[in-house]
């Protein structure tokens, strides 16, 4: 279900590049040449530059002065820092969500989790990745705070290429879904401290799986 909204040229390019980078087609370190992209998208350099600028602002690309744009590439140290930041932000989301929980947001989370379980039991890795994304997005939404949600989503995007190899086996999927369940219990307790601790735990197991794959 790809939303077929009419986008401006620069937005279209931005979305396409985001997609390709997330999918791993454009590996970290790849140089993005403006003219090549312009010809590829049947556009001029101007919208290409706008798209590259926005992607840089999101941390998906890095752009040196007069040095061109590259798909962001991180050292072990930097990756560790980015994941640490992501963990903290996710924990903050869980914390706020626990405070502001209501029937609707609880239902959203439960529905997403049901999809996770289904995908895990089916051993469908692709489906699980999507369902997992939706699960976390449901938590972001449950904060009732779009600003918090945006940062969280941004970090998730940003770490996408480095989580791509996660969930190698069916057991990984099931373990992840189980971890979700614990997390749900912590959030639904409406105890903000427990919720943030629970999220930290979940992110830790998730991070371990990502490491296993590399």
């Amino acid at each position: 279900m790809t939303t077929t909204t009419k986008l401006s040229t620069s937005r279209r390019i931005e979305a396409a590049l985001t997609e390709e980078i997330a999918a791993g087609e454009l590996a970290p370190g790849t140089r993005l040449d403006e003219v090549s992209l312009a010809t590829r998208f049947n556009a001029s350099r101007t919208p290409v530059r706008e798209a590259l600028g926005r992607l840089t602002a999101q941390g998906i690309l890095v752009q040196g002065e007069k040095r061109g744009a590259f798909v962001a590439e991180y050292s072990r140290e930097e990756l560790s820092q980015i994941f640490e930041a992501m963990h903290e932000i996710e924990a903050a989301c869980a914390r706020i969500a626990a405070q502001r929980l209501n029937f609707l947001s609880k239902t959203d989370i439960e529905i997403a989790q049901a999809a996770c379980i289904a995908a895990a039991e089916a051993g469908d890795r692709e489906a699980y990745l999507r369902a997992n994304e939706a699960f976390h997005t449901a938590i972001y939404k449950a904060t009732g705070n779009p600003y918090m949600a945006e940062i969280a989503a941004e970090f998730r995007q940003r770490t996408g290429p480095f989580r791509a190899k996660k969930f190698a086996t069916k057991e990984d999927l099931i373990e992840s879904a189980k971890s979700h369940q614990d997390l749900i219990n912590d959030i639904f307790s409406e105890d903000s401290t427990q919720a943030s601790t629970g999220m930290r735990d979940h992110m830790a197991t998730s991070f371990l799986q990502a490491l296993k794959a590399n």
Copy 2:
């Protein structure tokens, strides 16, 4: 002490606008016309657009489709959400800083706090604002995590125009400095939970002062 680094045109414009918005010269809701800015900065629309784009990415401006750029303006509800997010991020910084504290970062924080106390006792509001900024920046730095530090700084920038009227009286300054001291104790305890709680407390008193001013 304005750093006289040679900047590209678009960076210069970005910096100038950031400055003016932070200083309150460009009030929230103000429309920023591209051609006016271009003539004002003796430049073409191209670098102006790049600057506006980056400022939008930072949340300092809002840009509607074909609707131009405006200095971000928030409802009570939205402001509350932004401050909530800021509080959580600052708390996360305090948490990480407490875990990773070392002699250097402790010293940085103490130096910044000394400046805060001096400014508070002198009743110098402008100096205190700068010192307070430096104090929080020292904590960001103490996380050892530039990504976390960047988000925190971004939110601080973003809320700048809405914290501008804070610290009306000398007593406010002294109260704030006292609150800093409590926070330092919490962070220096190297207990991450206590540190984040302490930061939340500090931000709460800070937020109260901001509200008083409006």
